[in-house]
Symmetry: C2
Subunit: 418 residues, 2 copies
């Protein structure tokens, strides 16, 4: 298979085409399908990972619903099927700074994709240990990558996965713009317009670290002219891509537990195993969503459309639609014989919110969004059905609490909980 599209390469100073890409966290839920898609497109992919996500499964005494293969089995299977090699380097990005630097010097990657962060809000709230792990890991991982780009003296485009959650979940009567906001202020010289970063409002320690990242991006972009794209991603649903479907050894994670499971996938899997659909509070929350296939496509588009040298941090809203949680739950109950059950919300969040994001940039660059429909929902449910014997139902309820006044609700109620 020779699917290298020369157009995707960029010229290095020595005249050779450079299509090296590093995916930090390339063994994870989003990182793995992306790594495969990039490899398929002809990039030379190096996965940098310390397998911490798999090790958290040990800690949480839980597992991916899907039987993910060890990383070496994954990459061997990929090579066997496609002839493409994916290199793997075991590195703790938050600690092993010098290895990041030497990898940059060796590979001179045209871009690096940064997924090497603890990515679950509930996990970040489990205890002081988890709060501290999340802050230490995420702030240092992001800073190490930025610092190494500057020390290497290379023009490496950093693509970072952020979240739509950095602004809290509320709107000020407008669709949330892509990163920046025009505001007017009163000055002695009259009204003046400023273009500011959309104000951050983190709702968990995990979200806090993403807002801290944004400041690091702003600084390194300003001081060192690092090209940075920050993707504010919605909640990912689905799990498969064309590549992960080629062979069971390439299968992607499917998290259903209270810490790492994402809401829509959890609902679908709950329906599959015959568990009530677990709504926190009233279900009045509205959230932004994106299908796994679009997540991969968006990152590919971002890689191919780097900001100009000197341009400010490019921020995309990587989300295709917003949905009310209760409406989603009802949709799934209609497709199946599942029933809704309401649990005391372990989070500090608004009982009810509106939400709307602009996502013009990806649409203009050619994204053809996968929209949530019954067919795709059934596809996810089929996967859940296939592996439901692997489910440990005791792991479904979220047991991470946002503060000491919250309680774990294992029982639930048949009525919404205000």
């Amino acid at each position: 298979m020779n699917i290298l599209d020369q157009k995707r390469g960029i010229r290095r100073e020595d005249g050779k085409v450079n299509n090296n890409i590093i995916v930090f966290g390339g063994d994870g839920f989003c990182g793995w399908p992306l790594s495969l898609a990039l490899s398929k497109d002809g990039y030379n992919v190096t996965i940098v990972d310390n397998l911490v996500r798999r090790k958290m499964d040990i800690e949480l005494e839980c597992n991916s619903l899907t039987p993910i293969s060890p990383l070496s089995v994954r990459t061997k299977a990929w090579e066997e099927i496609t002839g493409e090699k994916i290199r793997v380097e075991y590195v703790d990005v938050s600690e092993h700074y010098h290895r990041i630097l030497t990898l940059f010097e060796e590979l001179k990657p045209r871009a690096v994709v940064h997924y090497a962060e603890q990515r679950a809000a509930p996990y970040s709230m489990k205890s002081s240990y988890h709060k501290r792990y999340t802050v230490n890991n995420n702030t240092n991982a992001t800073h190490n990558i930025l610092c190494a780009i500057v020390e290497a003296g290379l023009d490496i485009h950093l693509v970072h996965l952020g979240t739509t959650g950095v602004y809290g979940y509320g709107t000020a009567g407008m669709a949330i713009p892509e990163g920046y906001l025009k505001v007017k202020i009163d000055t002695r010289l009259g009204e003046k317009e400023l273009d500011i970063m959309y104000p951050a409002n983190p709702g968990s320690i995990y979200h806090l670290t993403k807002t801290q990242d944004a400041l690091a991006f702003m600084y390194y972009n300003k001081n060192d002219k690092v090209r940075i794209t920050d993707l504010h991603q919605g909640i990912v649903w689905g799990t498969i891509t064309d590549e992960t479907m080629l062979d069971e050894r390439l299968i992607n994670r499917f998290d259903y537990d209270g810490d790492f499971g994402t809401v829509l996938n959890r609902f679908l899997m709950q329906a599959a195993v015959g568990h009530p659909v677990t709504i926190h509070g009233t279900g009045g929350q509205t959230r932004a969503f994106i299908h796994m296939k679009d997540s991969v496509n968006c990152v590919k588009i971002a890689i191919e459309n780097p900001p100009e040298k000197g341009e400010r941090v490019k921020i995309f809203n990587q989300t295709t639609e917003c949905h009310n949680i209760h409406v989603l739950a009802e949709k799934i109950c209609k497709l199946t014989d599942a029933e809704i059950r309401y649990y005391i919300n372990p989070r500090n969040e608004d009982v009810k919110n509106d939400l709307e994001f602009t996502n013009d940039k990806f649409l203009q660059l050619g994204l053809d969004p996968v929209i949530l429909d019954d067919g795709l929902l059934v596809e996810v449910m089929e996967i859940a059905n296939r592996y439901k014997h692997r489910c440990d139902e005791s792991k479904i309820i979220c047991t991470s609490l946002w503060d000491k006044d919250k309680v774990i609700d294992l029982k639930g109620s048949d009525k919404p909980i205000e």
Copy 2:
């Protein structure tokens, strides 16, 4: 000496007056004079420090101009003179989380003052090592203190020392307000007013960490109702307070080197030793200043005026005046026979800027500002004169560079450098 003012104490649940205070970083330039002043006022002061600032002197092969005593000599002298004990705990606040927690549980302090951060912009820019040290130390130190307050379940008021530099050094035609800014935005429902945090614009890795701290404060205040005061302090000048003058063993640091020396103290010391007054660039920069005595007074006022439970983070501009650097240099040259010399600016910053801060809150709470006048300048110069034999002139020029295109300028020029 019995100077305990019962009014300053607050009642614990067991009915005893609680006047315990922890000063994280209490051995440092601002921490030491504050610790003495609090002890004098009747607080039970515990200094938590890992002596890292003294150890940086070893790394930088430089020393305080003033001969500071070892910490145990300092505290013994204080007890000998005043009868008051200051307890010392050797703790790395960025690492030894559990010790912070047990100290909180033991002391139930009414307030903790957080100076345990790397505080020099040039030091934070020396190399990747220094950038990484600053990010790791400052973000983890701040987060550990916040996390321990929540885990201890105590209502501890956190007073943090920030900087006027978090907003960059420019104004939008208005005095910079105390933390928050009213802005207007256009929405579908017409113009709407928002009250946002004044947008951050960090100019060094050091400043970056202070802006990241601000987000951690916002989050812990919102989620856990922690009472937090963030002091945006100007450049401190002067070094003595009434307490540090009681005995030479109590003397405070006087940093003059290119990393830790602050601009006005450096100018005064340069005049004392016969070195040219070192202006970076043109001297068109304007900066905010505060005298050491006011720094101590402001923190005392902040401790005594905590925000209400549930009130948002209380932000003070802890600065009393703004001055243009060139004007300051000229003032010193008039007082002495010093001459100005211009050096290539090692920083990325505007050649020229206006700057103005509101500081109404401290004034309303009774601060009577120490204003820069010739008498006080001479007082600092007298200290510099007394210890000028300890100066290593090779350490005066700043050798930390903001990016790889900058050069170290040891020679300087007699003309401003645009």
